[in-house]
């Protein structure tokens, strides 16, 4: 069952990749982009492949559930994969409301990146500690992920808006920040590439080091140590000697991974720039020339409207019910809880700005981008850096 499950996920991943190419094709075919016009043949194939991929991933989800005996949303790999699936699902739903394949061209790569990122974490089926043995947990996590995925669609639409609206002929703050968003996406790819390369090589090196309580400990790096641990002493023969040594309060191993991801991102980004000879956002501009700005603006806002109630229900209300059962208090100011609150407050502010200050169009698109940054921060950084009760960090 577990093997079948992995295969289904792999199939889904490949299908998403192919679908993305077809989405690209559907745009090239000139017509069929703005509101109301029919989707062309390429577009239809793309949507079909996306749906098949989604069903395949659903198969992964169900078979893994059967194999594990609990819903597969209980470690970083499982949760992040589920988020990717929810993203595809949310796109399919929004697609059938607005029928624009351009949205697919921007959403699918994000979903692919999310799933690729997920598979860099240990993929073993993990047992549940007692606090996690609750169906409320599963309801909470899945609903929250679906809510976040719908909100993420507003990011994809916002990105389309910005690519189209921002003048790329001269550099400005706006081109810089939009390009920064593109660079971050490339860096995720950098992380995936670097991790895959080193794990393919089976790279390992061990250090003796001294933690902040002056205890000696051993740490194992899976990437060459650019940032070494505090008072680290290399144990592996021919291991890579660190350039710098970190103070004890810094988690040197995680920092090292971040450094490598950035290096990977910079190299990839550099290569891309070398090939296309302009900003990524500028290169994407021709793809969006037929879309109507108000139309994407509306998709972006609609996604927030649809996603916000789902997010509230999943990330706050169901979370509170679970917390009440597991820890006897529905709210405990745990970092993960607080970041859910922050996300929620942010989107509340977003809607108020839009409604009463008339923040439509470009401002609204930037807000959608920031919202997605907050969601990703909650998913990545809070789990890995600010460890708390909800953290899957151990796994």
């Amino acid at each position: 069952m577990a093997a079948l499950s992995s295969n289904l996920l792999f199939v889904a991943f490949i299908l998403y990749l192919i679908a993305t190419l077809f989405f690209g094709g559907s745009i090239k075919e000139k017509k069929g982009l703005s509101e109301k016009k029919e989707t062309n043949k390429w577009g239809k194939i793309a949507v079909f492949l996306t749906i098949v991929g989604f069903v395949s991933q659903l198969g992964y989800f169900i078979t893994r559930w059967i194999a594990a005996g609990h819903a597969p949303v209980s470690n970083m790999f499982e949760f992040t994969t589920f988020f990717g699936m929810a993203l595809v699902g949310a796109f399919i739903v929004i697609y059938f409301i607005y029928r624009t394949t351009l949205l697919g061209l921007f959403t699918m790569p994000v979903a692919i990146l999310v799933i690729a990122y997920a598979s860099m974490f240990p993929r073993d089926i993990t047992p549940l500690i007692p606090a996690l043995q609750s169906y409320w947990l599963h309801i909470h996590v899945t609903t929250a992920a679906i809510g976040e995925a719908i909100l993420a669609i507003s990011f994809a639409a916002g990105l389309i808006y910005l690519v189209k609206a921002i003048d790329q002929t001269k550099s400005s703050k706006r081109t810089f920040w939009l390009e920064a968003v593109m660079f971050s996406l490339v860096t995720v790819l950098g992380f995936v590439a670097v991790s895959s390369i080193f794990s393919g090589m089976g790279y390992h090196e061990k250090f003796n080091w001294v933690d902040k309580h002056d205890n000696e400990a051993v740490v194992e790096y899976t990437m060459p140590a650019i940032a070494g641990p505090h008072e680290g002493e290399l144990l592996t023969k021919d291991g890579f000697k660190p350039f710098v040594e970190m103070p004890a309060i810094v988690n040197a191993k995680k920092l090292n991974t971040v450094i490598w991801s950035l290096i990977g991102g910079i190299i990839l980004y550099g290569l891309i720039r070398l090939i296309i000879r302009k900003r990524i956002s500028a290169a994407l501009k021709p793809l969006v020339k037929n879309i109507n700005l108000d139309f994407v603006d509306e998709i972006s806002y609609r996604s927030v409207l649809i996603g916000f109630p789902v997010f509230t229900l999943g990330a706050l209300i169901f979370a509170m019910i679970w917390a009440q059962m597991a820890w006897s208090r529905f709210w405990g100011w745990d970092p993960k809880e607080v970041w859910a609150l922050i996300t929620w407050l942010f989107y509340a502010a977003f809607m108020h700005l839009r409604l009463s200050k008339g923040w439509h169009g470009e401002k609204s698109a930037w807000l959608a981008v920031i919202g997605f940054v907050i969601i990703m921060f909650n998913l990545v950084a809070v789990n890995l850096i600010i460890a708390g009760l909800h953290s899957y960090a151990g796994s």
Partner: protein, 539 residues
């Protein structure tokens, strides 16, 4: 101040921008703009009308969405600050030590700024309170005028009102049959259609306009629930430790309920479990279950001081994480456990021959004074320190009554030492205060037992949160998943004018209009906002 009478005859409250009935622009300064600002129907809101007294000023401050958004943003940023380092409740050292020790100068600063208890700080609570006040005032400021204006609206609208709607178009050639078809289509789309002198107003989902106000009420109720926490007795939150085999009073229950802990169970996942094999190899031991098998009792009859209560058994229950025991508004949660020393065993031994003369087993919670070993051998317990330490004067003493570090002073009586020998015995040390003894008490073993840690919780305010949460959800869904749409089809200057308005989702409105106008000679009205943009883009 005076009310304003519109040329259509309707009397509007002072401050109205668009006549409630016909929509004519009353405030002339607004007349130049191309499109109407339709927010709150141009109704007379208190905050836009009065700004004289201090109460007006306060009202206006809190009713401003700008202020509301600022409050939300400030709360958001403050909340982020609280997640940088662990909060006070998640650390297990005194905060004045912990932060500096773990995070150096930064930790110290964090602590000195009071960020270690950020969410309980007065200023954080003040922010939340201000959001609450803002919610109340801001909702009141808008909902009443909005309600009145929507109620007073007439079918026939002023020309200026229609022309300056975002979706607007005029048709010169239209037949009566066209209007009939449109009406049928509108009704099929579940519009509520009203007609007056041949003019049509079709409206649907007005209720969605109340969504924000409903969700704000839900939020206010939720915040109110938070305030109830400060009322004594409304909220009970106590720790309770019960040793295996013991019965303990459940705190804050008016000495009504008792819990007996029969057994504490700690289970780990089986290393040979096929499914989890790999994960377990990586992670080591993983706990599968924390469980206490308990019996719940209720006291019978009056409470008589000094007497043991009579207990009636209510139920047996297995308290596990995620499965608390609930009774009469109380919940008992499994929260932690520890192991305690239960009994220690010693053998009375002759030091030179190593011959033993019987064993002594000391129950650490309830030790005997004398242990008779027969044949003239006995051991007396002269003094017992369950949690041993040397006090400031260097005398042996005990920190608590919990046997964390038991120590004993024994007198060993033997046939060859009829006066007895004294020995001080503690874990891993023996002191012989009066010189060299012939006998010793050799340590043989220690028995432990588990103590279950429970949290006893009673939260009478819980239902307030539940109701607040439900109302909030109803409100957001009401406001987000439906939109208020209005379509006007009216005869003006021998033409048929069509105008439409929605509070959100213009795309959906336009799609719907297309369907409604299908099969008629009427042309699809323009989206004047988009036309503006296109003109600009061309330029």
């Amino acid at each position: 101040m005076n009310d304003v009478k519109c040329e259509c005859g309707h009397v509007n409250p002072h401050g109205t921008v668009l006549c409630e009935a016909c929509g004519k622009v009353l405030d002339e300064t607004d007349n130049r703009k191309e499109l109407l600002d339709m927010r709150y129907e141009g109704s007379a809101r208190r905050s836009q009308t009065y700004n004289k007294t201090i109460i007006d000023k306060i009202w206006n401050f809190f009713s401003s969405v700008k202020v509301g958004v600022w409050l939300i943003i400030i709360t958001l940023i403050a909340s982020i600050l609280g997640t940088i380092l662990p909060q006070e409740m998640y650390i297990n050292l005194p905060p004045d030590v912990y932060y500096e020790q773990e995070y150096g100068w930064f930790g110290k600063l964090y602590y000195q700024l009071g960020f270690h208890d950020l969410y309980g700080s007065w200023w954080y609570l003040l922010l939340i309170a201000m959001i609450g006040i803002s919610l109340v005032i801001c909702s009141l400021d808008r909902v009443v005028p909005l309600y009145k204006a929507l109620k007073a609206q007439r079918v026939t609208r002023h020309e200026g009102f229609l022309k300056r709607q975002r979706v607007f178009g005029a048709n010169s050639e239209a037949e009566q049959t066209d209007l009939e078809t449109v009406k049928k289509h509108l009704q099929a789309k579940r519009y509520h259609v009203r007609e007056e002198n041949g003019d049509i107003l079709a409206e649907k989902n007005r209720f969605s306009r109340w969504g924000p106000y409903v969700n704000h009420i839900g939020l206010i109720i939720f915040l109110f629930g938070g305030m109830l926490r400060f009322i004594p007795g409304f909220y009970v939150n106590e720790d309770l430790w019960v040793r295996e085999g013991e019965t303990a009073l459940v705190p804050e229950t008016n000495e009504q309920y008792y819990i007996k802990n029969n057994q504490f169970i700690l289970e780990h996942y089986d290393k040979n479990n096929k499914t989890f094999e790999k994960a377990l190899n990586r992670a080591g031991e993983v706990v599968k279950n924390y469980q206490s098998n308990v019996v719940l009792y209720q006291r019978e009859g009056e409470k008589i001081p000094g007497e043991k209560p009579k207990l009636k058994k209510l139920e047996e229950y297995k308290i596990r994480v995620n499965q608390p025991l609930s009774f009469n508004g109380y919940s008992v949660f499994q929260s932690s456990f520890k192991t305690e020393f239960k009994a220690m065993t010693f053998a009375l031994t002759n030091k030179s021959t190593n011959q033993a003369f019987g064993e002594v087993k000391v129950d650490l919670t309830n030790p005997q004074e004398k242990y008779d070993l027969g044949n003239g051998y006995s051991v007396e317990l002269l003094n017992y320190f369950p949690d041993f330490e040397f006090d400031d004067n260097g005398e042996p003493s005990t920190k608590s009554r919990v046997p964390n570090n038991p120590a004993f002073i024994f007198r060993m009586n033997t046939p060859d030492k009829p006066k007895g020998e004294t020995s001080f015995v503690a874990i891993r040390q023996t002191i012989e205060p009066f010189g060299n003894n012939t006998y010793k008490l050799a340590f043989k073993g220690i028995e432990t037992k588990n103590v279950s840690g429970f949290i006893v919780r009673k939260d009478s305010s819980l239902w307030v949160f539940i109701i607040g949460g439900i109302i909030f959800m109803i409100g957001v869904i009401q406001g987000a998943y439906w939109n208020h749409r209005r379509i006007w089809v009216q005869r003006k200057n021998g033409q048929v004018w069509i105008a439409a308005h929605t509070n959100k989702n213009w795309y959906g409105l336009k799609r719907e209009l297309e369907a409604i106008l299908a099969g008629t000679k009427l042309t699809m009205p323009d989206d004047q906002l988009q036309r503006d943009k296109e003109v600009k883009e061309v330029v």
